[in-house]
């Protein structure tokens, strides 16, 4: 069975997942989800024109992609000797994590708490996932700013 690591800004969560995978001798999949929920979040903003709103949503998506660009190299470096793969998805973060877990290939999910990726900083990602999880969960505590 494999470990699924939900990626956010946390380096600690990555280190913990890599450590666990090495100790257990299991494979590790890192999932990077590009948050696409800005469109809904800005729904109440009646003032800005579609250019300004669209410009921002584009900027947020580009920012996520730039963050993802350096990940493969960084993660491969950290996961030497471990069966590792990186997956990229886009959508609402908890939904994409659950979709990946639904494959049945995982027995453990590792993620940071609080989870910092796009609009998830405003949501309790882990609390929303817990009732629906088909596997165990390891939350890596992050210091608040």
């Amino acid at each position: 069975m494999r470990i699924l690591l939900a990626l956010d800004e946390s380096a600690r969560a990555v280190d913990e997942a890599v450590k666990l995978a090495a100790e257990r001798g299991s494979g590790l999949t890192a999932l990077f989800v590009q948050d696409t929920t800005w469109h809904d979040y800005l729904g109440s903003d009646w003032l800005s024109g579609s250019n300004a709103r669209g410009g921002y949503i584009e900027w947020a998506a580009e920012h996520d992609m730039r963050e993802a660009a350096g990940l493969p190299e960084l993660l491969r470096e950290k996961t030497r000797g471990i069966d590792f793969e990186l997956k990229v998805a886009s959508g609402r973060v908890p939904e994409e994590i659950l979709k990946e877990l639904a494959s049945g290939a995982y027995d453990l999910l590792v993620m940071a708490q609080p989870f910092r990726r796009g609009l998830e900083v405003l949501r309790d990602t882990a609390a929303g996932l817990i009732p629906k999880l088909p596997c165990s969960l390891y939350l890596v505590r992050e210091q608040k700013d």
Binding site: D40, Y41, S44, D45, S48, D64, R117
Partner: protein, 369 residues
């Protein structure tokens, strides 16, 4: 993703929109008249007039209850498209509001509005820059908070963020702060205005200057006095709102310039480019309606056309207010914190209090409208 045709898109809007319309109908036509007849402390109309629990405030409250209680934090797929029309309703309403003015009346009150807005917008931006430096905050976040606190909350924050390279996660926290403060202002300012005996003119000028988010200025004015006619709170508040909206591209230019002057690497930008991409075009519709009204093309004051137009506006804004409430997610707002929260609360409180003091000291009860 599955592509829908025009009819499919229209059908997707119906359930959510129907929910907003039915909600407003019940609140406006059934609940408010009933509440107006209930006697409290031996006084009929105490709830709707003295407490101010009119259909506008109830629409926002019910919208909030839908989002946070009924929908448990997120608008479900079947209603999402309908609720998304909120933006369209409020924008249409604001364009129609242009009919409350004439070019002459705008010229009379507009000068004061411009002076107050320019002073408060740039005063707030400088305050945020100063406080951000004191707190050791990231420059890009100072830029976003400066725009958000200075001009019009969410719109200004998203217009500025790409230019100052703000991280989306931090923009989300900044927006949560602004919305949280705006919601609080939306509920506390009408009772304060009534307690201080502010006129519609004074109240409109106060909240138009002092409240951070423009959507909430509109909601607050309508909550203070739901009447839509020349000389009401919404008529005055909206002049301030429109001046703020027009200032967005200039503020974005100023803040982006400030940001890049402090960075080693410079980025090319032009005011014209920012104006083209950030200018809210619907404002032209607002002025178009003012022009029609100035030449009596919508009928004289008291005409059937104007009466009908104002009646429509009440319904259009009412539907928009249900939607506005439904986009308020307490779970998300609760997550606001850190330096953006400190700056937002400090700048927001200062702006609200200082603008009230100026209104009380220098603005008379009646405008020469």
């Amino acid at each position: 993703m599955e592509e829908r045709g025009f009819l499919g898109k229209l059908a997707a809007i119906v359930p959510g929109l129907a929910m907003m319309v039915v909600t407003l109908y019940l609140l406006k036509q059934v609940v408010e008249p009933w509440l107006a007849g209930v006697a409290v402390f031996g006084q009929k109309g105490y709830i709707t007039k003295s407490i101010g629990l009119n259909y506008v405030l109830m629409s926002i409250l019910v919208g909030m209850a839908y989002r946070n209680l009924l929908f448990r934090g997120s608008i479900p797929g079947w209603a999402a498209e309908g609720f998304r029309t909120t933006r369209l309703f409020i924008k249409t309403g604001v364009i129609m509001l242009g009919s409350l003015y004439t070019i002459q009346s705008l010229a009379k009150v507009g000068g004061l509005a411009i002076a107050l807005i320019v002073a408060f917008v740039f005063g707030t931006i400088f305050f945020v820059m100063w406080m951000g430096k004191k707190l050791g905050m990231d420059r890009s976040m100072v830029g976003v908070m400066g725009a958000a606190c200075g001009v019009c909350g969410v719109s200004a924050a998203i217009a500025t963020s790409p230019g100052v390279k703000a991280k989306p996660a931090e923009v989300a926290l900044a927006i949560a702060t602004i919305l949280g403060f705006g919601i609080m202002s939306m509920f506390i300012t009408p009772p304060i205005g009534r307690a201080l005996g502010l006129s519609d003119y004074q109240f409109g000028a106060w909240v138009g200057t002092g409240i951070l988010n423009s959507g909430q200025v509109l909601a607050t004015c309508l909550s203070f006095n739901p009447a839509i006619a020349p000389g009401t709170a919404v008529a005055y508040g909206e002049i301030w709102n429109v001046v703020r909206v027009i200032s967005i591209p200039f503020v974005v230019f100023f803040i982006t310039l400030w940001y890049w002057r402090g960075e080693a690497q410079e980025e090319h930008m032009s005011l014209w480019g920012i104006l083209k991409s950030k200018f809210p075009i619907f404002v032209l519709g607002f002025f178009g309606m003012t022009a029609l009204s100035s030449f009596d093309m919508l009928g004289k004051e008291g005409s059937e056309t104007l009466h009908m137009l104002r009646d429509w506006m009440a319904w259009i804004f009412g539907i928009g207010m249900v939607g506005l409430g439904a986009y308020i997610d307490f779970g998300e707002i609760k997550k606001a914190g850190g330096a953006p929260l400190k700056i937002g609360v400090a700048a927001g409180t200062l702006k609200l209090v200082l603008s009230l003091v100026i209104i009380l000291l220098f603005i008379g009860k009646e405008a020469s409208f």
